[in-house]
């Protein structure tokens, strides 16, 4: 009997959950919509507050926000929900999934809505955000989060080494020389840290260098690899020289040690984003735009709100919510509460914006640096394969196991065959 209960009970719970998820739709003129997100703590509170504000001011729509857990696995969860017809109206999904999402018939193409409704002020979003949601002619989401890489440095280590703080016209040579001076092998102190696990974390820092040298990841119609151009080799050579000749780079194996080490004063400089700042409590740090070659481009990793088709009434309600939630005023509220960068350009011109920059030291440079996020990674379904091939090549160079040109050429060959087969 106990067995039966233990079997039946979870089934009942499952049914109950399924039934409650299947709810929604409209009742007494109020349209119910559901938003899935992975926010915790401060951000979790902020989104609940935002939903309450929206519901209070929009009597015809009721928004329910639900936490789906770790955002890393959100795509799988949403896909499973689509299979069962229980997908939400809106879900927070990573930018790198844009091309995959666009292939699902359940995801709404927002391009017609954006075109017919100027009140969204689409061009007010940062260029990097707009590029990230553009999949061919489709627009598969509204920007939800934007960040970028800047140079975060330990002021005390610079003072000790007697070198001036990084400037906004630093060259790669300036950067390399400073990293070398900041390195003290006996003291196990490094000038720079690089995530060398071959993952996208390895690749996107390289992308910034590649673009600075005038190169590109793929050609303009995404049919051939271009990262093995002379610009790519130049970027990879910088990494090689610093890691294997100067030994001024701490190679992080992808488990996030670099943040702890920076916070304990063992690392002079990082290429990192605003999300890391809150963990640097023990050191005095400064933020500067990245050092440059031909230019000072950075890379941005935007995420988005994706809408799913639950009928035209709910689509309209979801659209109203997204427009409201991503408006300049709401974007500023969000940034004030969470420290995230403002997702709209005009947010920075609001009166209250200075509260934000004074509350979160260092973010002002990250906001300015959004202007340097000129290019985006290719939005194609096979991007993960491109990334994996590049990651292996860069890792081989950093570990001194391959020469830059040879490594990038062989990765380019793999990428070309993936792009040719289209899978």
């Amino acid at each position: 009997m106990k067995r039966v209960v233990s079997l039946v009970l979870p089934l009942l719970v499952l049914l109950a959950v399924a039934a409650s998820c299947g709810g929604g739709g409209s009742s007494n003129g109020v349209v119910n919509i559901t938003v899935w997100h992975g926010y915790e703590d401060v951000e979790g509170k902020a989104i609940n507050a935002a939903a309450a504000r929206f519901n209070a001011t929009h009597p015809k729509i009721h928004v329910t926000v639900q936490n789906y857990g770790n955002a890393d696995y959100a795509l799988q969860k949403v896909l499973t929900a689509i299979r069962g017809g229980a997908e939400p109206d809106i879900a927070y999904l990573y930018g790198s999934w844009a091309a995959n999402i666009a292939r699902s018939p359940a995801a709404v193409d927002l391009a017609p809505m954006i075109q017919s409704d100027p009140s969204i002020h689409w061009s007010d979003f940062w260029p990097a955000e707009r590029q990230a949601v553009q999949v061919g002619p489709k627009i598969i989401g509204v920007p939800a989060l934007v960040d970028n890489l800047a140079l975060v440095y330990n002021k005390k280590l610079f003072d000790q080494a007697g070198i001036p703080y990084p400037s906004d016209n630093w060259t790669w040579d300036d950067f390399r020389a400073a990293a070398k001076k900041l390195t003290d092998t006996g003291n196990k102190q490094f000038g720079w840290a690089y995530v060398a696990d071959g993952s996208e974390d390895t690749v996107w820092r390289f992308d910034a260098l590649l673009w600075q040298a005038g190169g590109d990841i793929l050609n303009s119609d995404n049919t051939k690899a271009e990262f093995n151009s002379p610009a790519g080799v130049k970027a990879a050579t910088l990494l090689q020289q610093m890691a294997t000749v100067d030994h001024s780079v701490y190679l992080d194996n992808g488990n996030g040690n670099y943040a702890n080490l920076f916070n304990s004063g063992k690392i002079g400089m990082l290429f990192t984003g605003p999300w890391d700042l809150s963990s640097f409590t023990d050191v005095k740090y400064g933020v500067q735009i990245l050092p440059g070659d031909l230019n000072h481009q950075t890379i941005s990793g935007p995420d988005q709100w994706v809408m799913f088709d639950k009928g035209s009434t709910r689509k309209q309600a979801a659209w109203t919510f997204l427009k409201w939630f991503t408006s300049p005023q709401e974007s500023l509220q969000w940034s004030l509460a969470t420290g995230d960068l403002p997702i709209r350009q005009s947010t920075t011109r609001l009166a209250q914006y200075s509260d934000y920059t004074s509350k979160y030291p260092g973010v002002a440079t990250f906001v300015v640096n959004l202007g340097n996020a000129a290019k985006a990674r290719p939005v194609i379904p096979t991007y993960n394969e491109v990334s994996q091939a590049m990651g292996q090549a860069i890792q081989a160079v950093l570990l001194g196991k391959a020469q830059p040109k040879q490594a990038l050429d062989s990765a380019a060959q793999q990428v070309d065959s993936v792009l040719a087969s289209g899978q």
């Binding site: 079997l7 896909l79 995959n100 292939r103 196990k188 194996n253 994996q388 899978q423």
Partner: protein, 293 residues
């Protein structure tokens, strides 16, 4: 009358096992069949699948990364199984004697088994960290190293072997300890009276009596070793330069990072067949040498 009783016993018997059968069916048999179907498809788990017949298997045969992953899996298994089973036997024999604090040692040996893999992984990441890790510091004190461990493509797989042996040996020790308790004293006494030394007693009396346990542990450890994944996922992520991309890690990479569901299912099937063949061979050899009494 008898028949009816037998039948009703049959029915209630089936009712008793129904929950287990249902669960095993749902989470065991169904995925096995679905996996077979999936392996014949091109399926990105996103858009409608496409039937491709045996194409996935044909691609696998020519996939250098897959072939290398089989090689790595076998190297790992060949190291992990003898070291963990042999090591466990040695530790169990030592712990089976009347020594001070033997309960403490037994607990200490078992603790890693009860520790979550994620915690183990984080600890080993720091212990084996090349620059700041304790391992290199201690080895440096006696004039060795520094080693790259997880960050050196030539050492990463062996580091994983060391970490997993540490993590799993406690289980084997406990099983062996239980078996050692079952060795009848009179047999050992008889051997002593016949003038056998300690090694001879172990070699000719104790070890043969442990053979069913040894067979179980070898088969069980081999199955586990062929499916090693968690420890790699929390430490090296299959790297550096794919040095620890074993079969299941490659499967994970294909299925959940590159969204090649069909291809990953084909990998799973190859692994399944490998495991089946190895287990059958082990049991066949073992059963001819095992003494059950």
């Amino acid at each position: 009358m008898i028949r009816r009783a037998a039948r009703s016993e049959h029915v209630s018997g089936w009712l008793f096992v129904l929950p287990a059968v249902a669960l095993i069916g749902l989470f065991g048999i169904v995925p096995i069949i679905w996996g077979a179907v999936l392996s014949l498809q091109q399926n990105d788990l996103l858009t409608p699948p496409k039937w491709v017949g045996l194409q996935n298997y044909r691609t696998l045969v020519h996939d250098p990364v897959f072939l290398a992953s089989i090689h790595r899996t076998l190297v790992y298994t060949l190291l992990f199984v003898p070291i963990s089973v042999g090591g466990a036997l040695a530790i169990a024999v030592l712990l089976n004697r009347r020594i001070h604090f033997s309960r403490f040692y037994r607990t200490a040996v078992f603790i890693p088994v009860a520790t979550s893999t994620v915690a183990t992984g984080i600890i080993f990441n720091w212990l084996l960290e090349p620059t700041y890790g304790v391992a290199n510091y201690l080895l440096g004190e006696i004039g060795l190293g520094p080693y790259g461990f997880f960050q050196d493509p030539d050492q990463a797989l062996y580091s994983i072997v060391a970490m997993t042996v540490w993590g799993w040996i406690g289980f084997d020790v406990i099983v062996y300890l239980a078996a050692l308790q079952g060795v009848p004293d009179e047999l050992v006494e008889a051997a002593k009276l016949d003038g056998a030394g300690r090694w001879a007693i172990f070699r000719h009396v104790v070890f043969p009596l442990l053979s069913p346990t040894t067979l179980f542990l070898v088969v069980w450890s081999t199955i586990n070793a062929l499916q090693v994944f968690d420890e790699i996922y929390v430490t090296t992520h299959g790297g550096p330069l794919q040095a620890t991309t074993v079969m299941v890690y490659y499967l994970f990479n294909q299925a959940f990072e590159l969204f090649h569901g069909g291809y990953a299912a084909a990998i799973a099937y190859v692994l399944f067949l490998m495991t089946l063949v190895l287990s059958v061979v082990q049991l066949w050899i073992g059963n001819r040498r095992v003494h059950y009494s």
